[in-house]
Amino acid sequence: MIKVPCSGKIESIHIMRALEEGDGVVIYACHKEACQFLRGNLRAEARLAYIKNILKEISIEEERVQMYYLSPSNGVKFTRTLSTFYEDLKSLGPNAGRAEE
């Protein structure tokens, strides 16, 4: 897990590099109306959409990248969504675009 000051700090290349070495990437962002930097989570959402388009172009399942909005204190939702994402990734199988170790 990589902590960033705001989801808006996550660049497209961070997601791509993570996918090169992993099976999926999940981004946790604050609720849309609750960004203390005003538009950070909206920027992250737009970048995620851009990455999903690239993944579609290279035939990698776009479900491998997901974003969830939650408040910092909502541990229950964090656990539930992460478990769901993990199960989804398991059903997708290994990322065919991942570099061989």
Binding site: S12, M16, R17, A99
Partner: protein
């Protein structure tokens, strides 16, 4: 500035299908500003190509570098070692950058990864629009600083066509009618009379109709 956009991934992947080691060359000037071929876009394209090739079980090695400008000899010379270490170059510069590499490194295969689209400006972050057709014979002094050649869908030089409706273009209702903009601007400047001036037909020989263009400044030569 020159505005471009990345080519579709499949087109790029087809170009480099036979290569196992390539060099992606970005450009740190125009295409970096329009977010099509700068440092970040080079990294993203490199990552996408690697994943696509891993998926096909045809892994590829990729070197990356973004010179300040890909359209000048002294900047592309910096790329020599990486270019010579690879089978081909994928250029994320405009068409000028691609041809600069081709002329400087004649034995190297260079593919374009970006479609050079137009000369324009960023209206806002993430939005670019055309402003200049590089016709070689500027008429902006006659038209209130608004170019009818690229901003009018029909490049009309003698006023709006019959399809101008409520200040919008009939070709695309999202586009402002250039001649409406010209009229409004000249009216604001109190120079509407300029529009009554009879002008000779435009000399298009300075544009593409005159063949490839070249400027020579003897006073600037070394």
């Amino acid at each position: 500035m020159i505005v471009g956009e990345r080519k579709p991934m499949q087109e790029i992947l087809d170009m480099i299908a036979d290569h196992k080691k390539i060099f992606i060359a970005g450009c740190g000037t125009c295409v970096a500003v329009c977010m099509a071929g700068g440092d970040k876009e080079v990294s993203i394209l490199s990552s996408a190509i690697k994943m696509a090739r891993n998926k096909e079980n045809k892994p590829i090695e990729i070197l990356e570098q973004t010179p300040l400008r890909q359209c000048e000899w002294e900047f592309v010379d910096e790329l020599k070692d990486k270019i010579e270490a690879c089978e081909a170059v994928l250029s994320m510069a405009c068409g000028i950058g691609v041809q600069t590499l081709v002329e400087r490194f004649p034995k190297v295969i260079v593919y374009p990864a970006v479609n050079t689209t137009f000369l324009g400006l960023p209206e806002e972050q993430g939005v670019w629009s055309e402003r200049c057709g590089a016709c070689g014979n500027c008429v902006l002094d006659k038209t209130g600083g608004i170019c009818p050649i690229v901003r009018c869908s029909k490049s009309l030089l003698n006023g709006p066509c019959g399809g101008s409706q409520d200040g919008k273009c009939e070709v695309d209702p999202e586009v402002d009618c250039a001649w409406q903009l010209i009229y409004d601007r000249l009216k604001t400047l109190g120079k509407l009379d300029d529009l009554t001036e009879i002008l000779p037909p435009k000399d298009w020989s300075t544009g593409r109709d005159g063949g490839p263009r070249k400027i020579v400044r003897e006073d600037m030569k070394l």
